[in-house]
Amino acid sequence: MTLVILALLGAWVALDGTAFGQFMVSRPVMSGTLAGWIVGDPLTGFLVGGVLELLFLGGLPVGGVRLPEPGPAAIPAVWLAVGWGGWVGPAAGGALAGGVAVGLLLAWLGGVTVHLQRVRNGRISRAAWARGGGPPALARAQALALLTDGARGLLLTTLGLGVTTGLLLLGGGTAFASHWPLTGAETLALLLAVSALSLGRQVQTAAGGRTRVVTRPLLLVAAGIAGGVLLGLLLGVHEGTEALVLLPASGEGAS
């Protein structure tokens, strides 16, 4: 039952990306957290989705350029991570790593299917115009495109869930996760450090347009970092927060 709900969530998330609404539930941090909530572990969902979010940041959908599709991908990613015990489990690092790896691969696969969908939409829409382009033909084209895109999201997510469920049933999977060389906190830190690359790129893109001096965005970020460090120290986040108090780290953040 949970798997059916997750697959349906995948269909909605895929539609939200382009075809219907664009409320941005299609962002991986959204779909990941929702998926985590559905399976009873929103924190793992948020962390896996959040890492994917940051890694794919800066791939802006300007002018309909071809992009990966991390939204639906985050759902099987979270399913696997939670299945391997999630963030509070004994193999937090392996669970996080496995989830993110699956999410990355599925996001690229999803991007390919988005491209195929758009090619197909071209044929659907062309056929409607060949039939005279009247309101009924246009409405049918819209409905058909919407339906096939939803089915695409459903199939893609189902495929992802099938593969990850297979990995979960595989006895060695949990053992593999527990052999992962880093702790949960270290794995998260590693992935966040890598995603600093896309965050930086996003910063430069946001500074784009006119700023010819490259130092301006650097200075703005530096000012922000200083403020963030101050804020973090003032609020004592180094001692852990309510949301992250479960951090299974060996530092003083653990409780």
Partner: protein, 259 residues
């Protein structure tokens, strides 16, 4: 006016349904403009408000019938597509010629994309996401953090759709000066500047937290700092999938160690 405005706003949510490489969202635009009014609006209310408008555009389609779709080529940021819907509707009602409608569509697709990209995709959305992330780091639960992002982002999103259709309907062809007055470009630029600082704040809070949580935070902080600097300096000249590939490479190395 209100019933018409609502109808166009609602249709704008589906305007990208058949987004394709041939005419982008042109078919969606034509659908939203040409579809007859739903039965309900032929009642007393609708007749009062929409009697002169809402009729399908009688535009001769050039070329072979097979290629009629490409004649409707149009693109826009989805949140601002309502500006085009409203303006084209009003132009048709005021008797604009097909050639004028086509040139208007052609000219409008560029700024509606550019303004929306600069304000939403590169501005408001990343800002909302980062604020949600900071809220989480400061102790908000994941659901609260995600809820905050949804509310923040969609606040602007829904307002833009509603406002855009209204401006379009009111101004028709003169929508350009009206958009200029609304100063979306300047707003986008401010939002992006704030977003850059907030990205820094996010990194700063994360850094403080990592010092408390990790046994050896040094390598992660240095590595993250170096990569952040590279990202800022190289910007969009970094290939799109590079961060993801780097992450996958590191995860693969870890996976080999685990085996």
């Amino acid at each position: 006016m209100t019933a018409l405005r609502w109808r166009l706003v609602v249709r704008s949510f589906l305007i990208q349904a058949s987004w394709n490489y041939r005419n982008l969202l042109g078919t969606g635009l034509a659908w939203a403009l040409r579809s007859p009014r739903p039965a309900a609006t032929t009642g007393p209310d609708g007749e009062l408000e929409d009697a002169s408008v809402g009729l399908p555009a009688e535009e001769p389609d050039p070329g072979t019938p097979d290629d009629a779709d490409t004649h409707w080529n149009f693109n826009s940021h989805p949140y601002l597509a309502g500006v085009a819907l409203g303006a084209l509707h009003t132009m048709e009602a005021r008797g604009a010629t097909p050639e004028e409608l086509r040139r208007f569509r052609t000219a409008l697709r560029a700024p509606l994309g550019a303004l929306g990209d600069a304000l939403v995709w590169v501005g408001w959305l990343p800002l909302s996401l980062l604020l949600g992330g900071i809220a989480f780091l400061l102790g908000a639960s994941p659901l609260v953090a995600v809820g905050l992002v949804l509310v923040l982002h969609n606040g602007l999103h829904l307002w833009l759709r509603w406002w855009g259709v209204g401006v379009g309907l009111r101004e028709g062809r003169a929508v350009g000066p009206a958009l200029q007055r609304a100063n979306l470009g300047k707003t986008g630029s401010r939002v992006r500047t704030v977003g850059i600082m907030v990205a820094g704040i996010f990194v700063g809070v994360l850094g403080v937290m990592s010092v408390g949580v990790l046994e050896r935070p040094g390598p992660f902080l240095v590595g993250g700092g170096v990569l952040l600097t590279i990202g800022v300096l190289r910007g969009m000249s970094l290939p799109g999938p590079l961060p993801g590939l780097l992450a996958l490479l590191l995860l693969g190395i870890g996976g080999l160690l685990a085996l």
